[in-house]
């Protein structure tokens, strides 16, 4: 009795109990003596009720199935033949065995999961300490804010406005020298821009031509440098290094201003590289000391 009491607490349900009883017969599920299995099961149910344990409905349903199977097994063989003519899947005996086999597989799988679970308790995923750069990484570059959207709106408005006016005044709206001045101002502020951007805001064909001529002139004057990172790639324009300043000095100025060094044409890439190397070694951020237990 006491033996059963302990076991009932660990059995998940009737199938679990049946598997346990099959195991006690020490045979394969397919070869199990169903009559004996049914008897054992009913004995357990009996024990449960004697112990005043509430017998779950699932156990009672299984008990009635087993009684039915047992009664069929006990039928004389001549009567049994007629019944066994039913397809396998409607035979309650085979249905029960199929269910047991299936349940057993998942119970085994659960055991595998359990060992994985235990193993995982000794596994610590590595997470690096926060890297700290002397020079702030290009985080701003990667973020788009609502302000970007607003400036996009401004750009559209400007263009629409220009377009609306263009019909009567575009002919003398731009001269090459005016455009040179505008471009020079823009590149000084922005330091780099893409070639296509030059024309993105052009309102007329004349303006495009004027812009192009101005760009060529600025490149000739070595105010602008242009670079293409790959064949057929976007052409990038940048402010050419001022020959009156040392490259290092201008970078130092940029550092002092809290900026990251900008691309300043192909000529300066090595200098930019050096400075990034110098400041590119991250420090691990100071964190509270680990708990030493």
């Amino acid at each position: 009795m006491g033996e059963y009491k302990v076991q009932f607490e660990v059995f998940e349900g009737p199938l679990d109990l049946l598997l346990y009883l099959v195991k006690k017969q020490e045979v394969d599920i397919y070869d199990v003596n169903l009559t004996k299995l049914a008897t054992d099961f009913l004995d357990c149910i009996e024990a449960m009720s004697q112990l005043d344990l509430e017998v779950a409905g699932d156990f009672l349903v299984m008990a009635s199935t087993l009684v039915y199977i047992k009664s069929r097994e006990l039928l004389p063989s001549d009567q049994q033949v007629a019944v066994e003519a039913e397809p396998d899947d409607e035979d309650p005996k085979w249905e029960l065995i199929r269910q047991l086999v299936e349940y057993k597989k998942f119970k085994d799988a659960a055991a595998t999961f359990q060992s994985l679970e235990v193993a995982q308790e000794g596994v610590f995923p590595h997470s690096a300490a926060k890297i700290k750069f002397d020079q702030e990484p290009a985080a701003a570059r990667a973020t788009v804010s609502v302000f970007d959207l607003v400036s996009a709106v401004a750009a559209i408005l400007k263009r629409v406005q220009a377009r609306d006016q263009s019909s009567d005044i575009f002919a003398d709206r731009w001269s090459v020298s005016e455009k040179i001045e505008l471009l020079r101002q823009e590149i000084t502020v922005r330091r780099t821009m893409r070639f296509s951007e030059l024309f993105a805001e052009a309102a007329s064909r004349v303006e495009i031509v004027v812009t192009f001529l101005a760009t060529l002139e600025l490149i000739r004057l070595k105010v602008l440098a242009c670079a293409q990172s790959e064949a057929f790639g976007e052409i990038e324009l940048s402010l050419a290094p001022d020959p009156s300043l040392e490259a290092g000095a201008s970078l130092a100025a940029a550092h002092a201003a809290g900026e990251s060094p900008s691309v300043t044409g192909l000529q300066e890439t090595s200098a930019a590289g050096d400075s990034a190397q110098a400041s590119g070694v991250p420090d691990h951020e100071e964190n509270p000391a680990p708990r030493l237990s």
Partner: protein, 222 residues
């Protein structure tokens, strides 16, 4: 500079696991944003190539004698310690507040969901032979399983599938990694009869089709 070294270094200094796709993004934006020359050659690296290099890197670490190795969990790559080194790391980081281990019913139910997803509660109960209400609730609360739409059968019952969290909890890289998956997935489950409506239904028992024929663990399209 070799791609493999870059991958190793990036993972080494990453605060979170990275997917090959995320690594591709890092290579690409480094190539396009960096003022330095470096990295331009890694601008257009295919995810396949990254994946191949990660596999090779994993091999390197498996063969090495280090206390950590590279693993792919839930599709993302990260370094983890070898279990033998756990005692020192436990001292270092302190005992993490791990959730309690799953109960036996929890593990069984989870196994059924894992291999049979998307699966209805009735199907789980049919296999386990007992009600699973409380267990399902626990698994849902722990984020190991989730609702996966409704099955197109009578009553349109809710189906369940495992989550990313499930893969992480057991340290699995993906569902194909499940042990003995083929055997467990193919066992036929008797489903309730498909819903017969006046309308010709577009997908009669989509669930069954997905599980038993392709063996793939994708929820049927809603």
């Amino acid at each position: 500079m070799e791609l493999k070294n870059i991958l190793e270094t990036v993972l080494f200094f990453s605060q979170k696991p990275l997917t090959p796709k995320e690594i591709q993004g890092i290579l690409e934006s480094t190539a396009s944003s960096s003022e330095e020359e470096g990295g331009k050659e890694f601008r257009k690296i295919k995810v396949d190539v990254i994946q191949g290099n990660l596999d090779s890197l994993r091999e390197d670490f498996e063969n090495g004698a280090k206390g950590y190795r590279l693993v792919c969990v839930a599709g993302a790559w990260q370094f983890v310690n070898r279990p033998e080194y756990a005692p020192w790391l436990r001292t270092l980081v302190g005992e993490a507040s791990r959730p309690p281990r799953l109960s036996q019913p929890g593990l069984e139910t989870l196994a059924i969901v894992a291999y049979r997803q998307p699966v209805t509660r009735a199907e789980i109960e049919q296999i386990r032979g007992v009600s699973v209400d409380g267990v399902m609730q626990t698994l849902l609360e722990r984020g190991l399983i989730e609702n996966a739409g409704r099955a197109e059968v009578v009553g349109r019952p809710m189906t369940y599938a495992t989550t990313q969290q499930f893969l992480q909890y057991f340290g699995l890289s993906n569902l194909a990694d499940l042990p003995a998956a083929d055997e467990l997935r193919r066992i036929p489950v008797t489903h309730p009869e498909a819903l017969v409506t006046a309308e010709p239904s577009p997908a009669p028992s989509a669930v069954e089709a997905v599980i038993s024929e392709t063996g793939e663990l994708k929820p049927p399209k809603a």
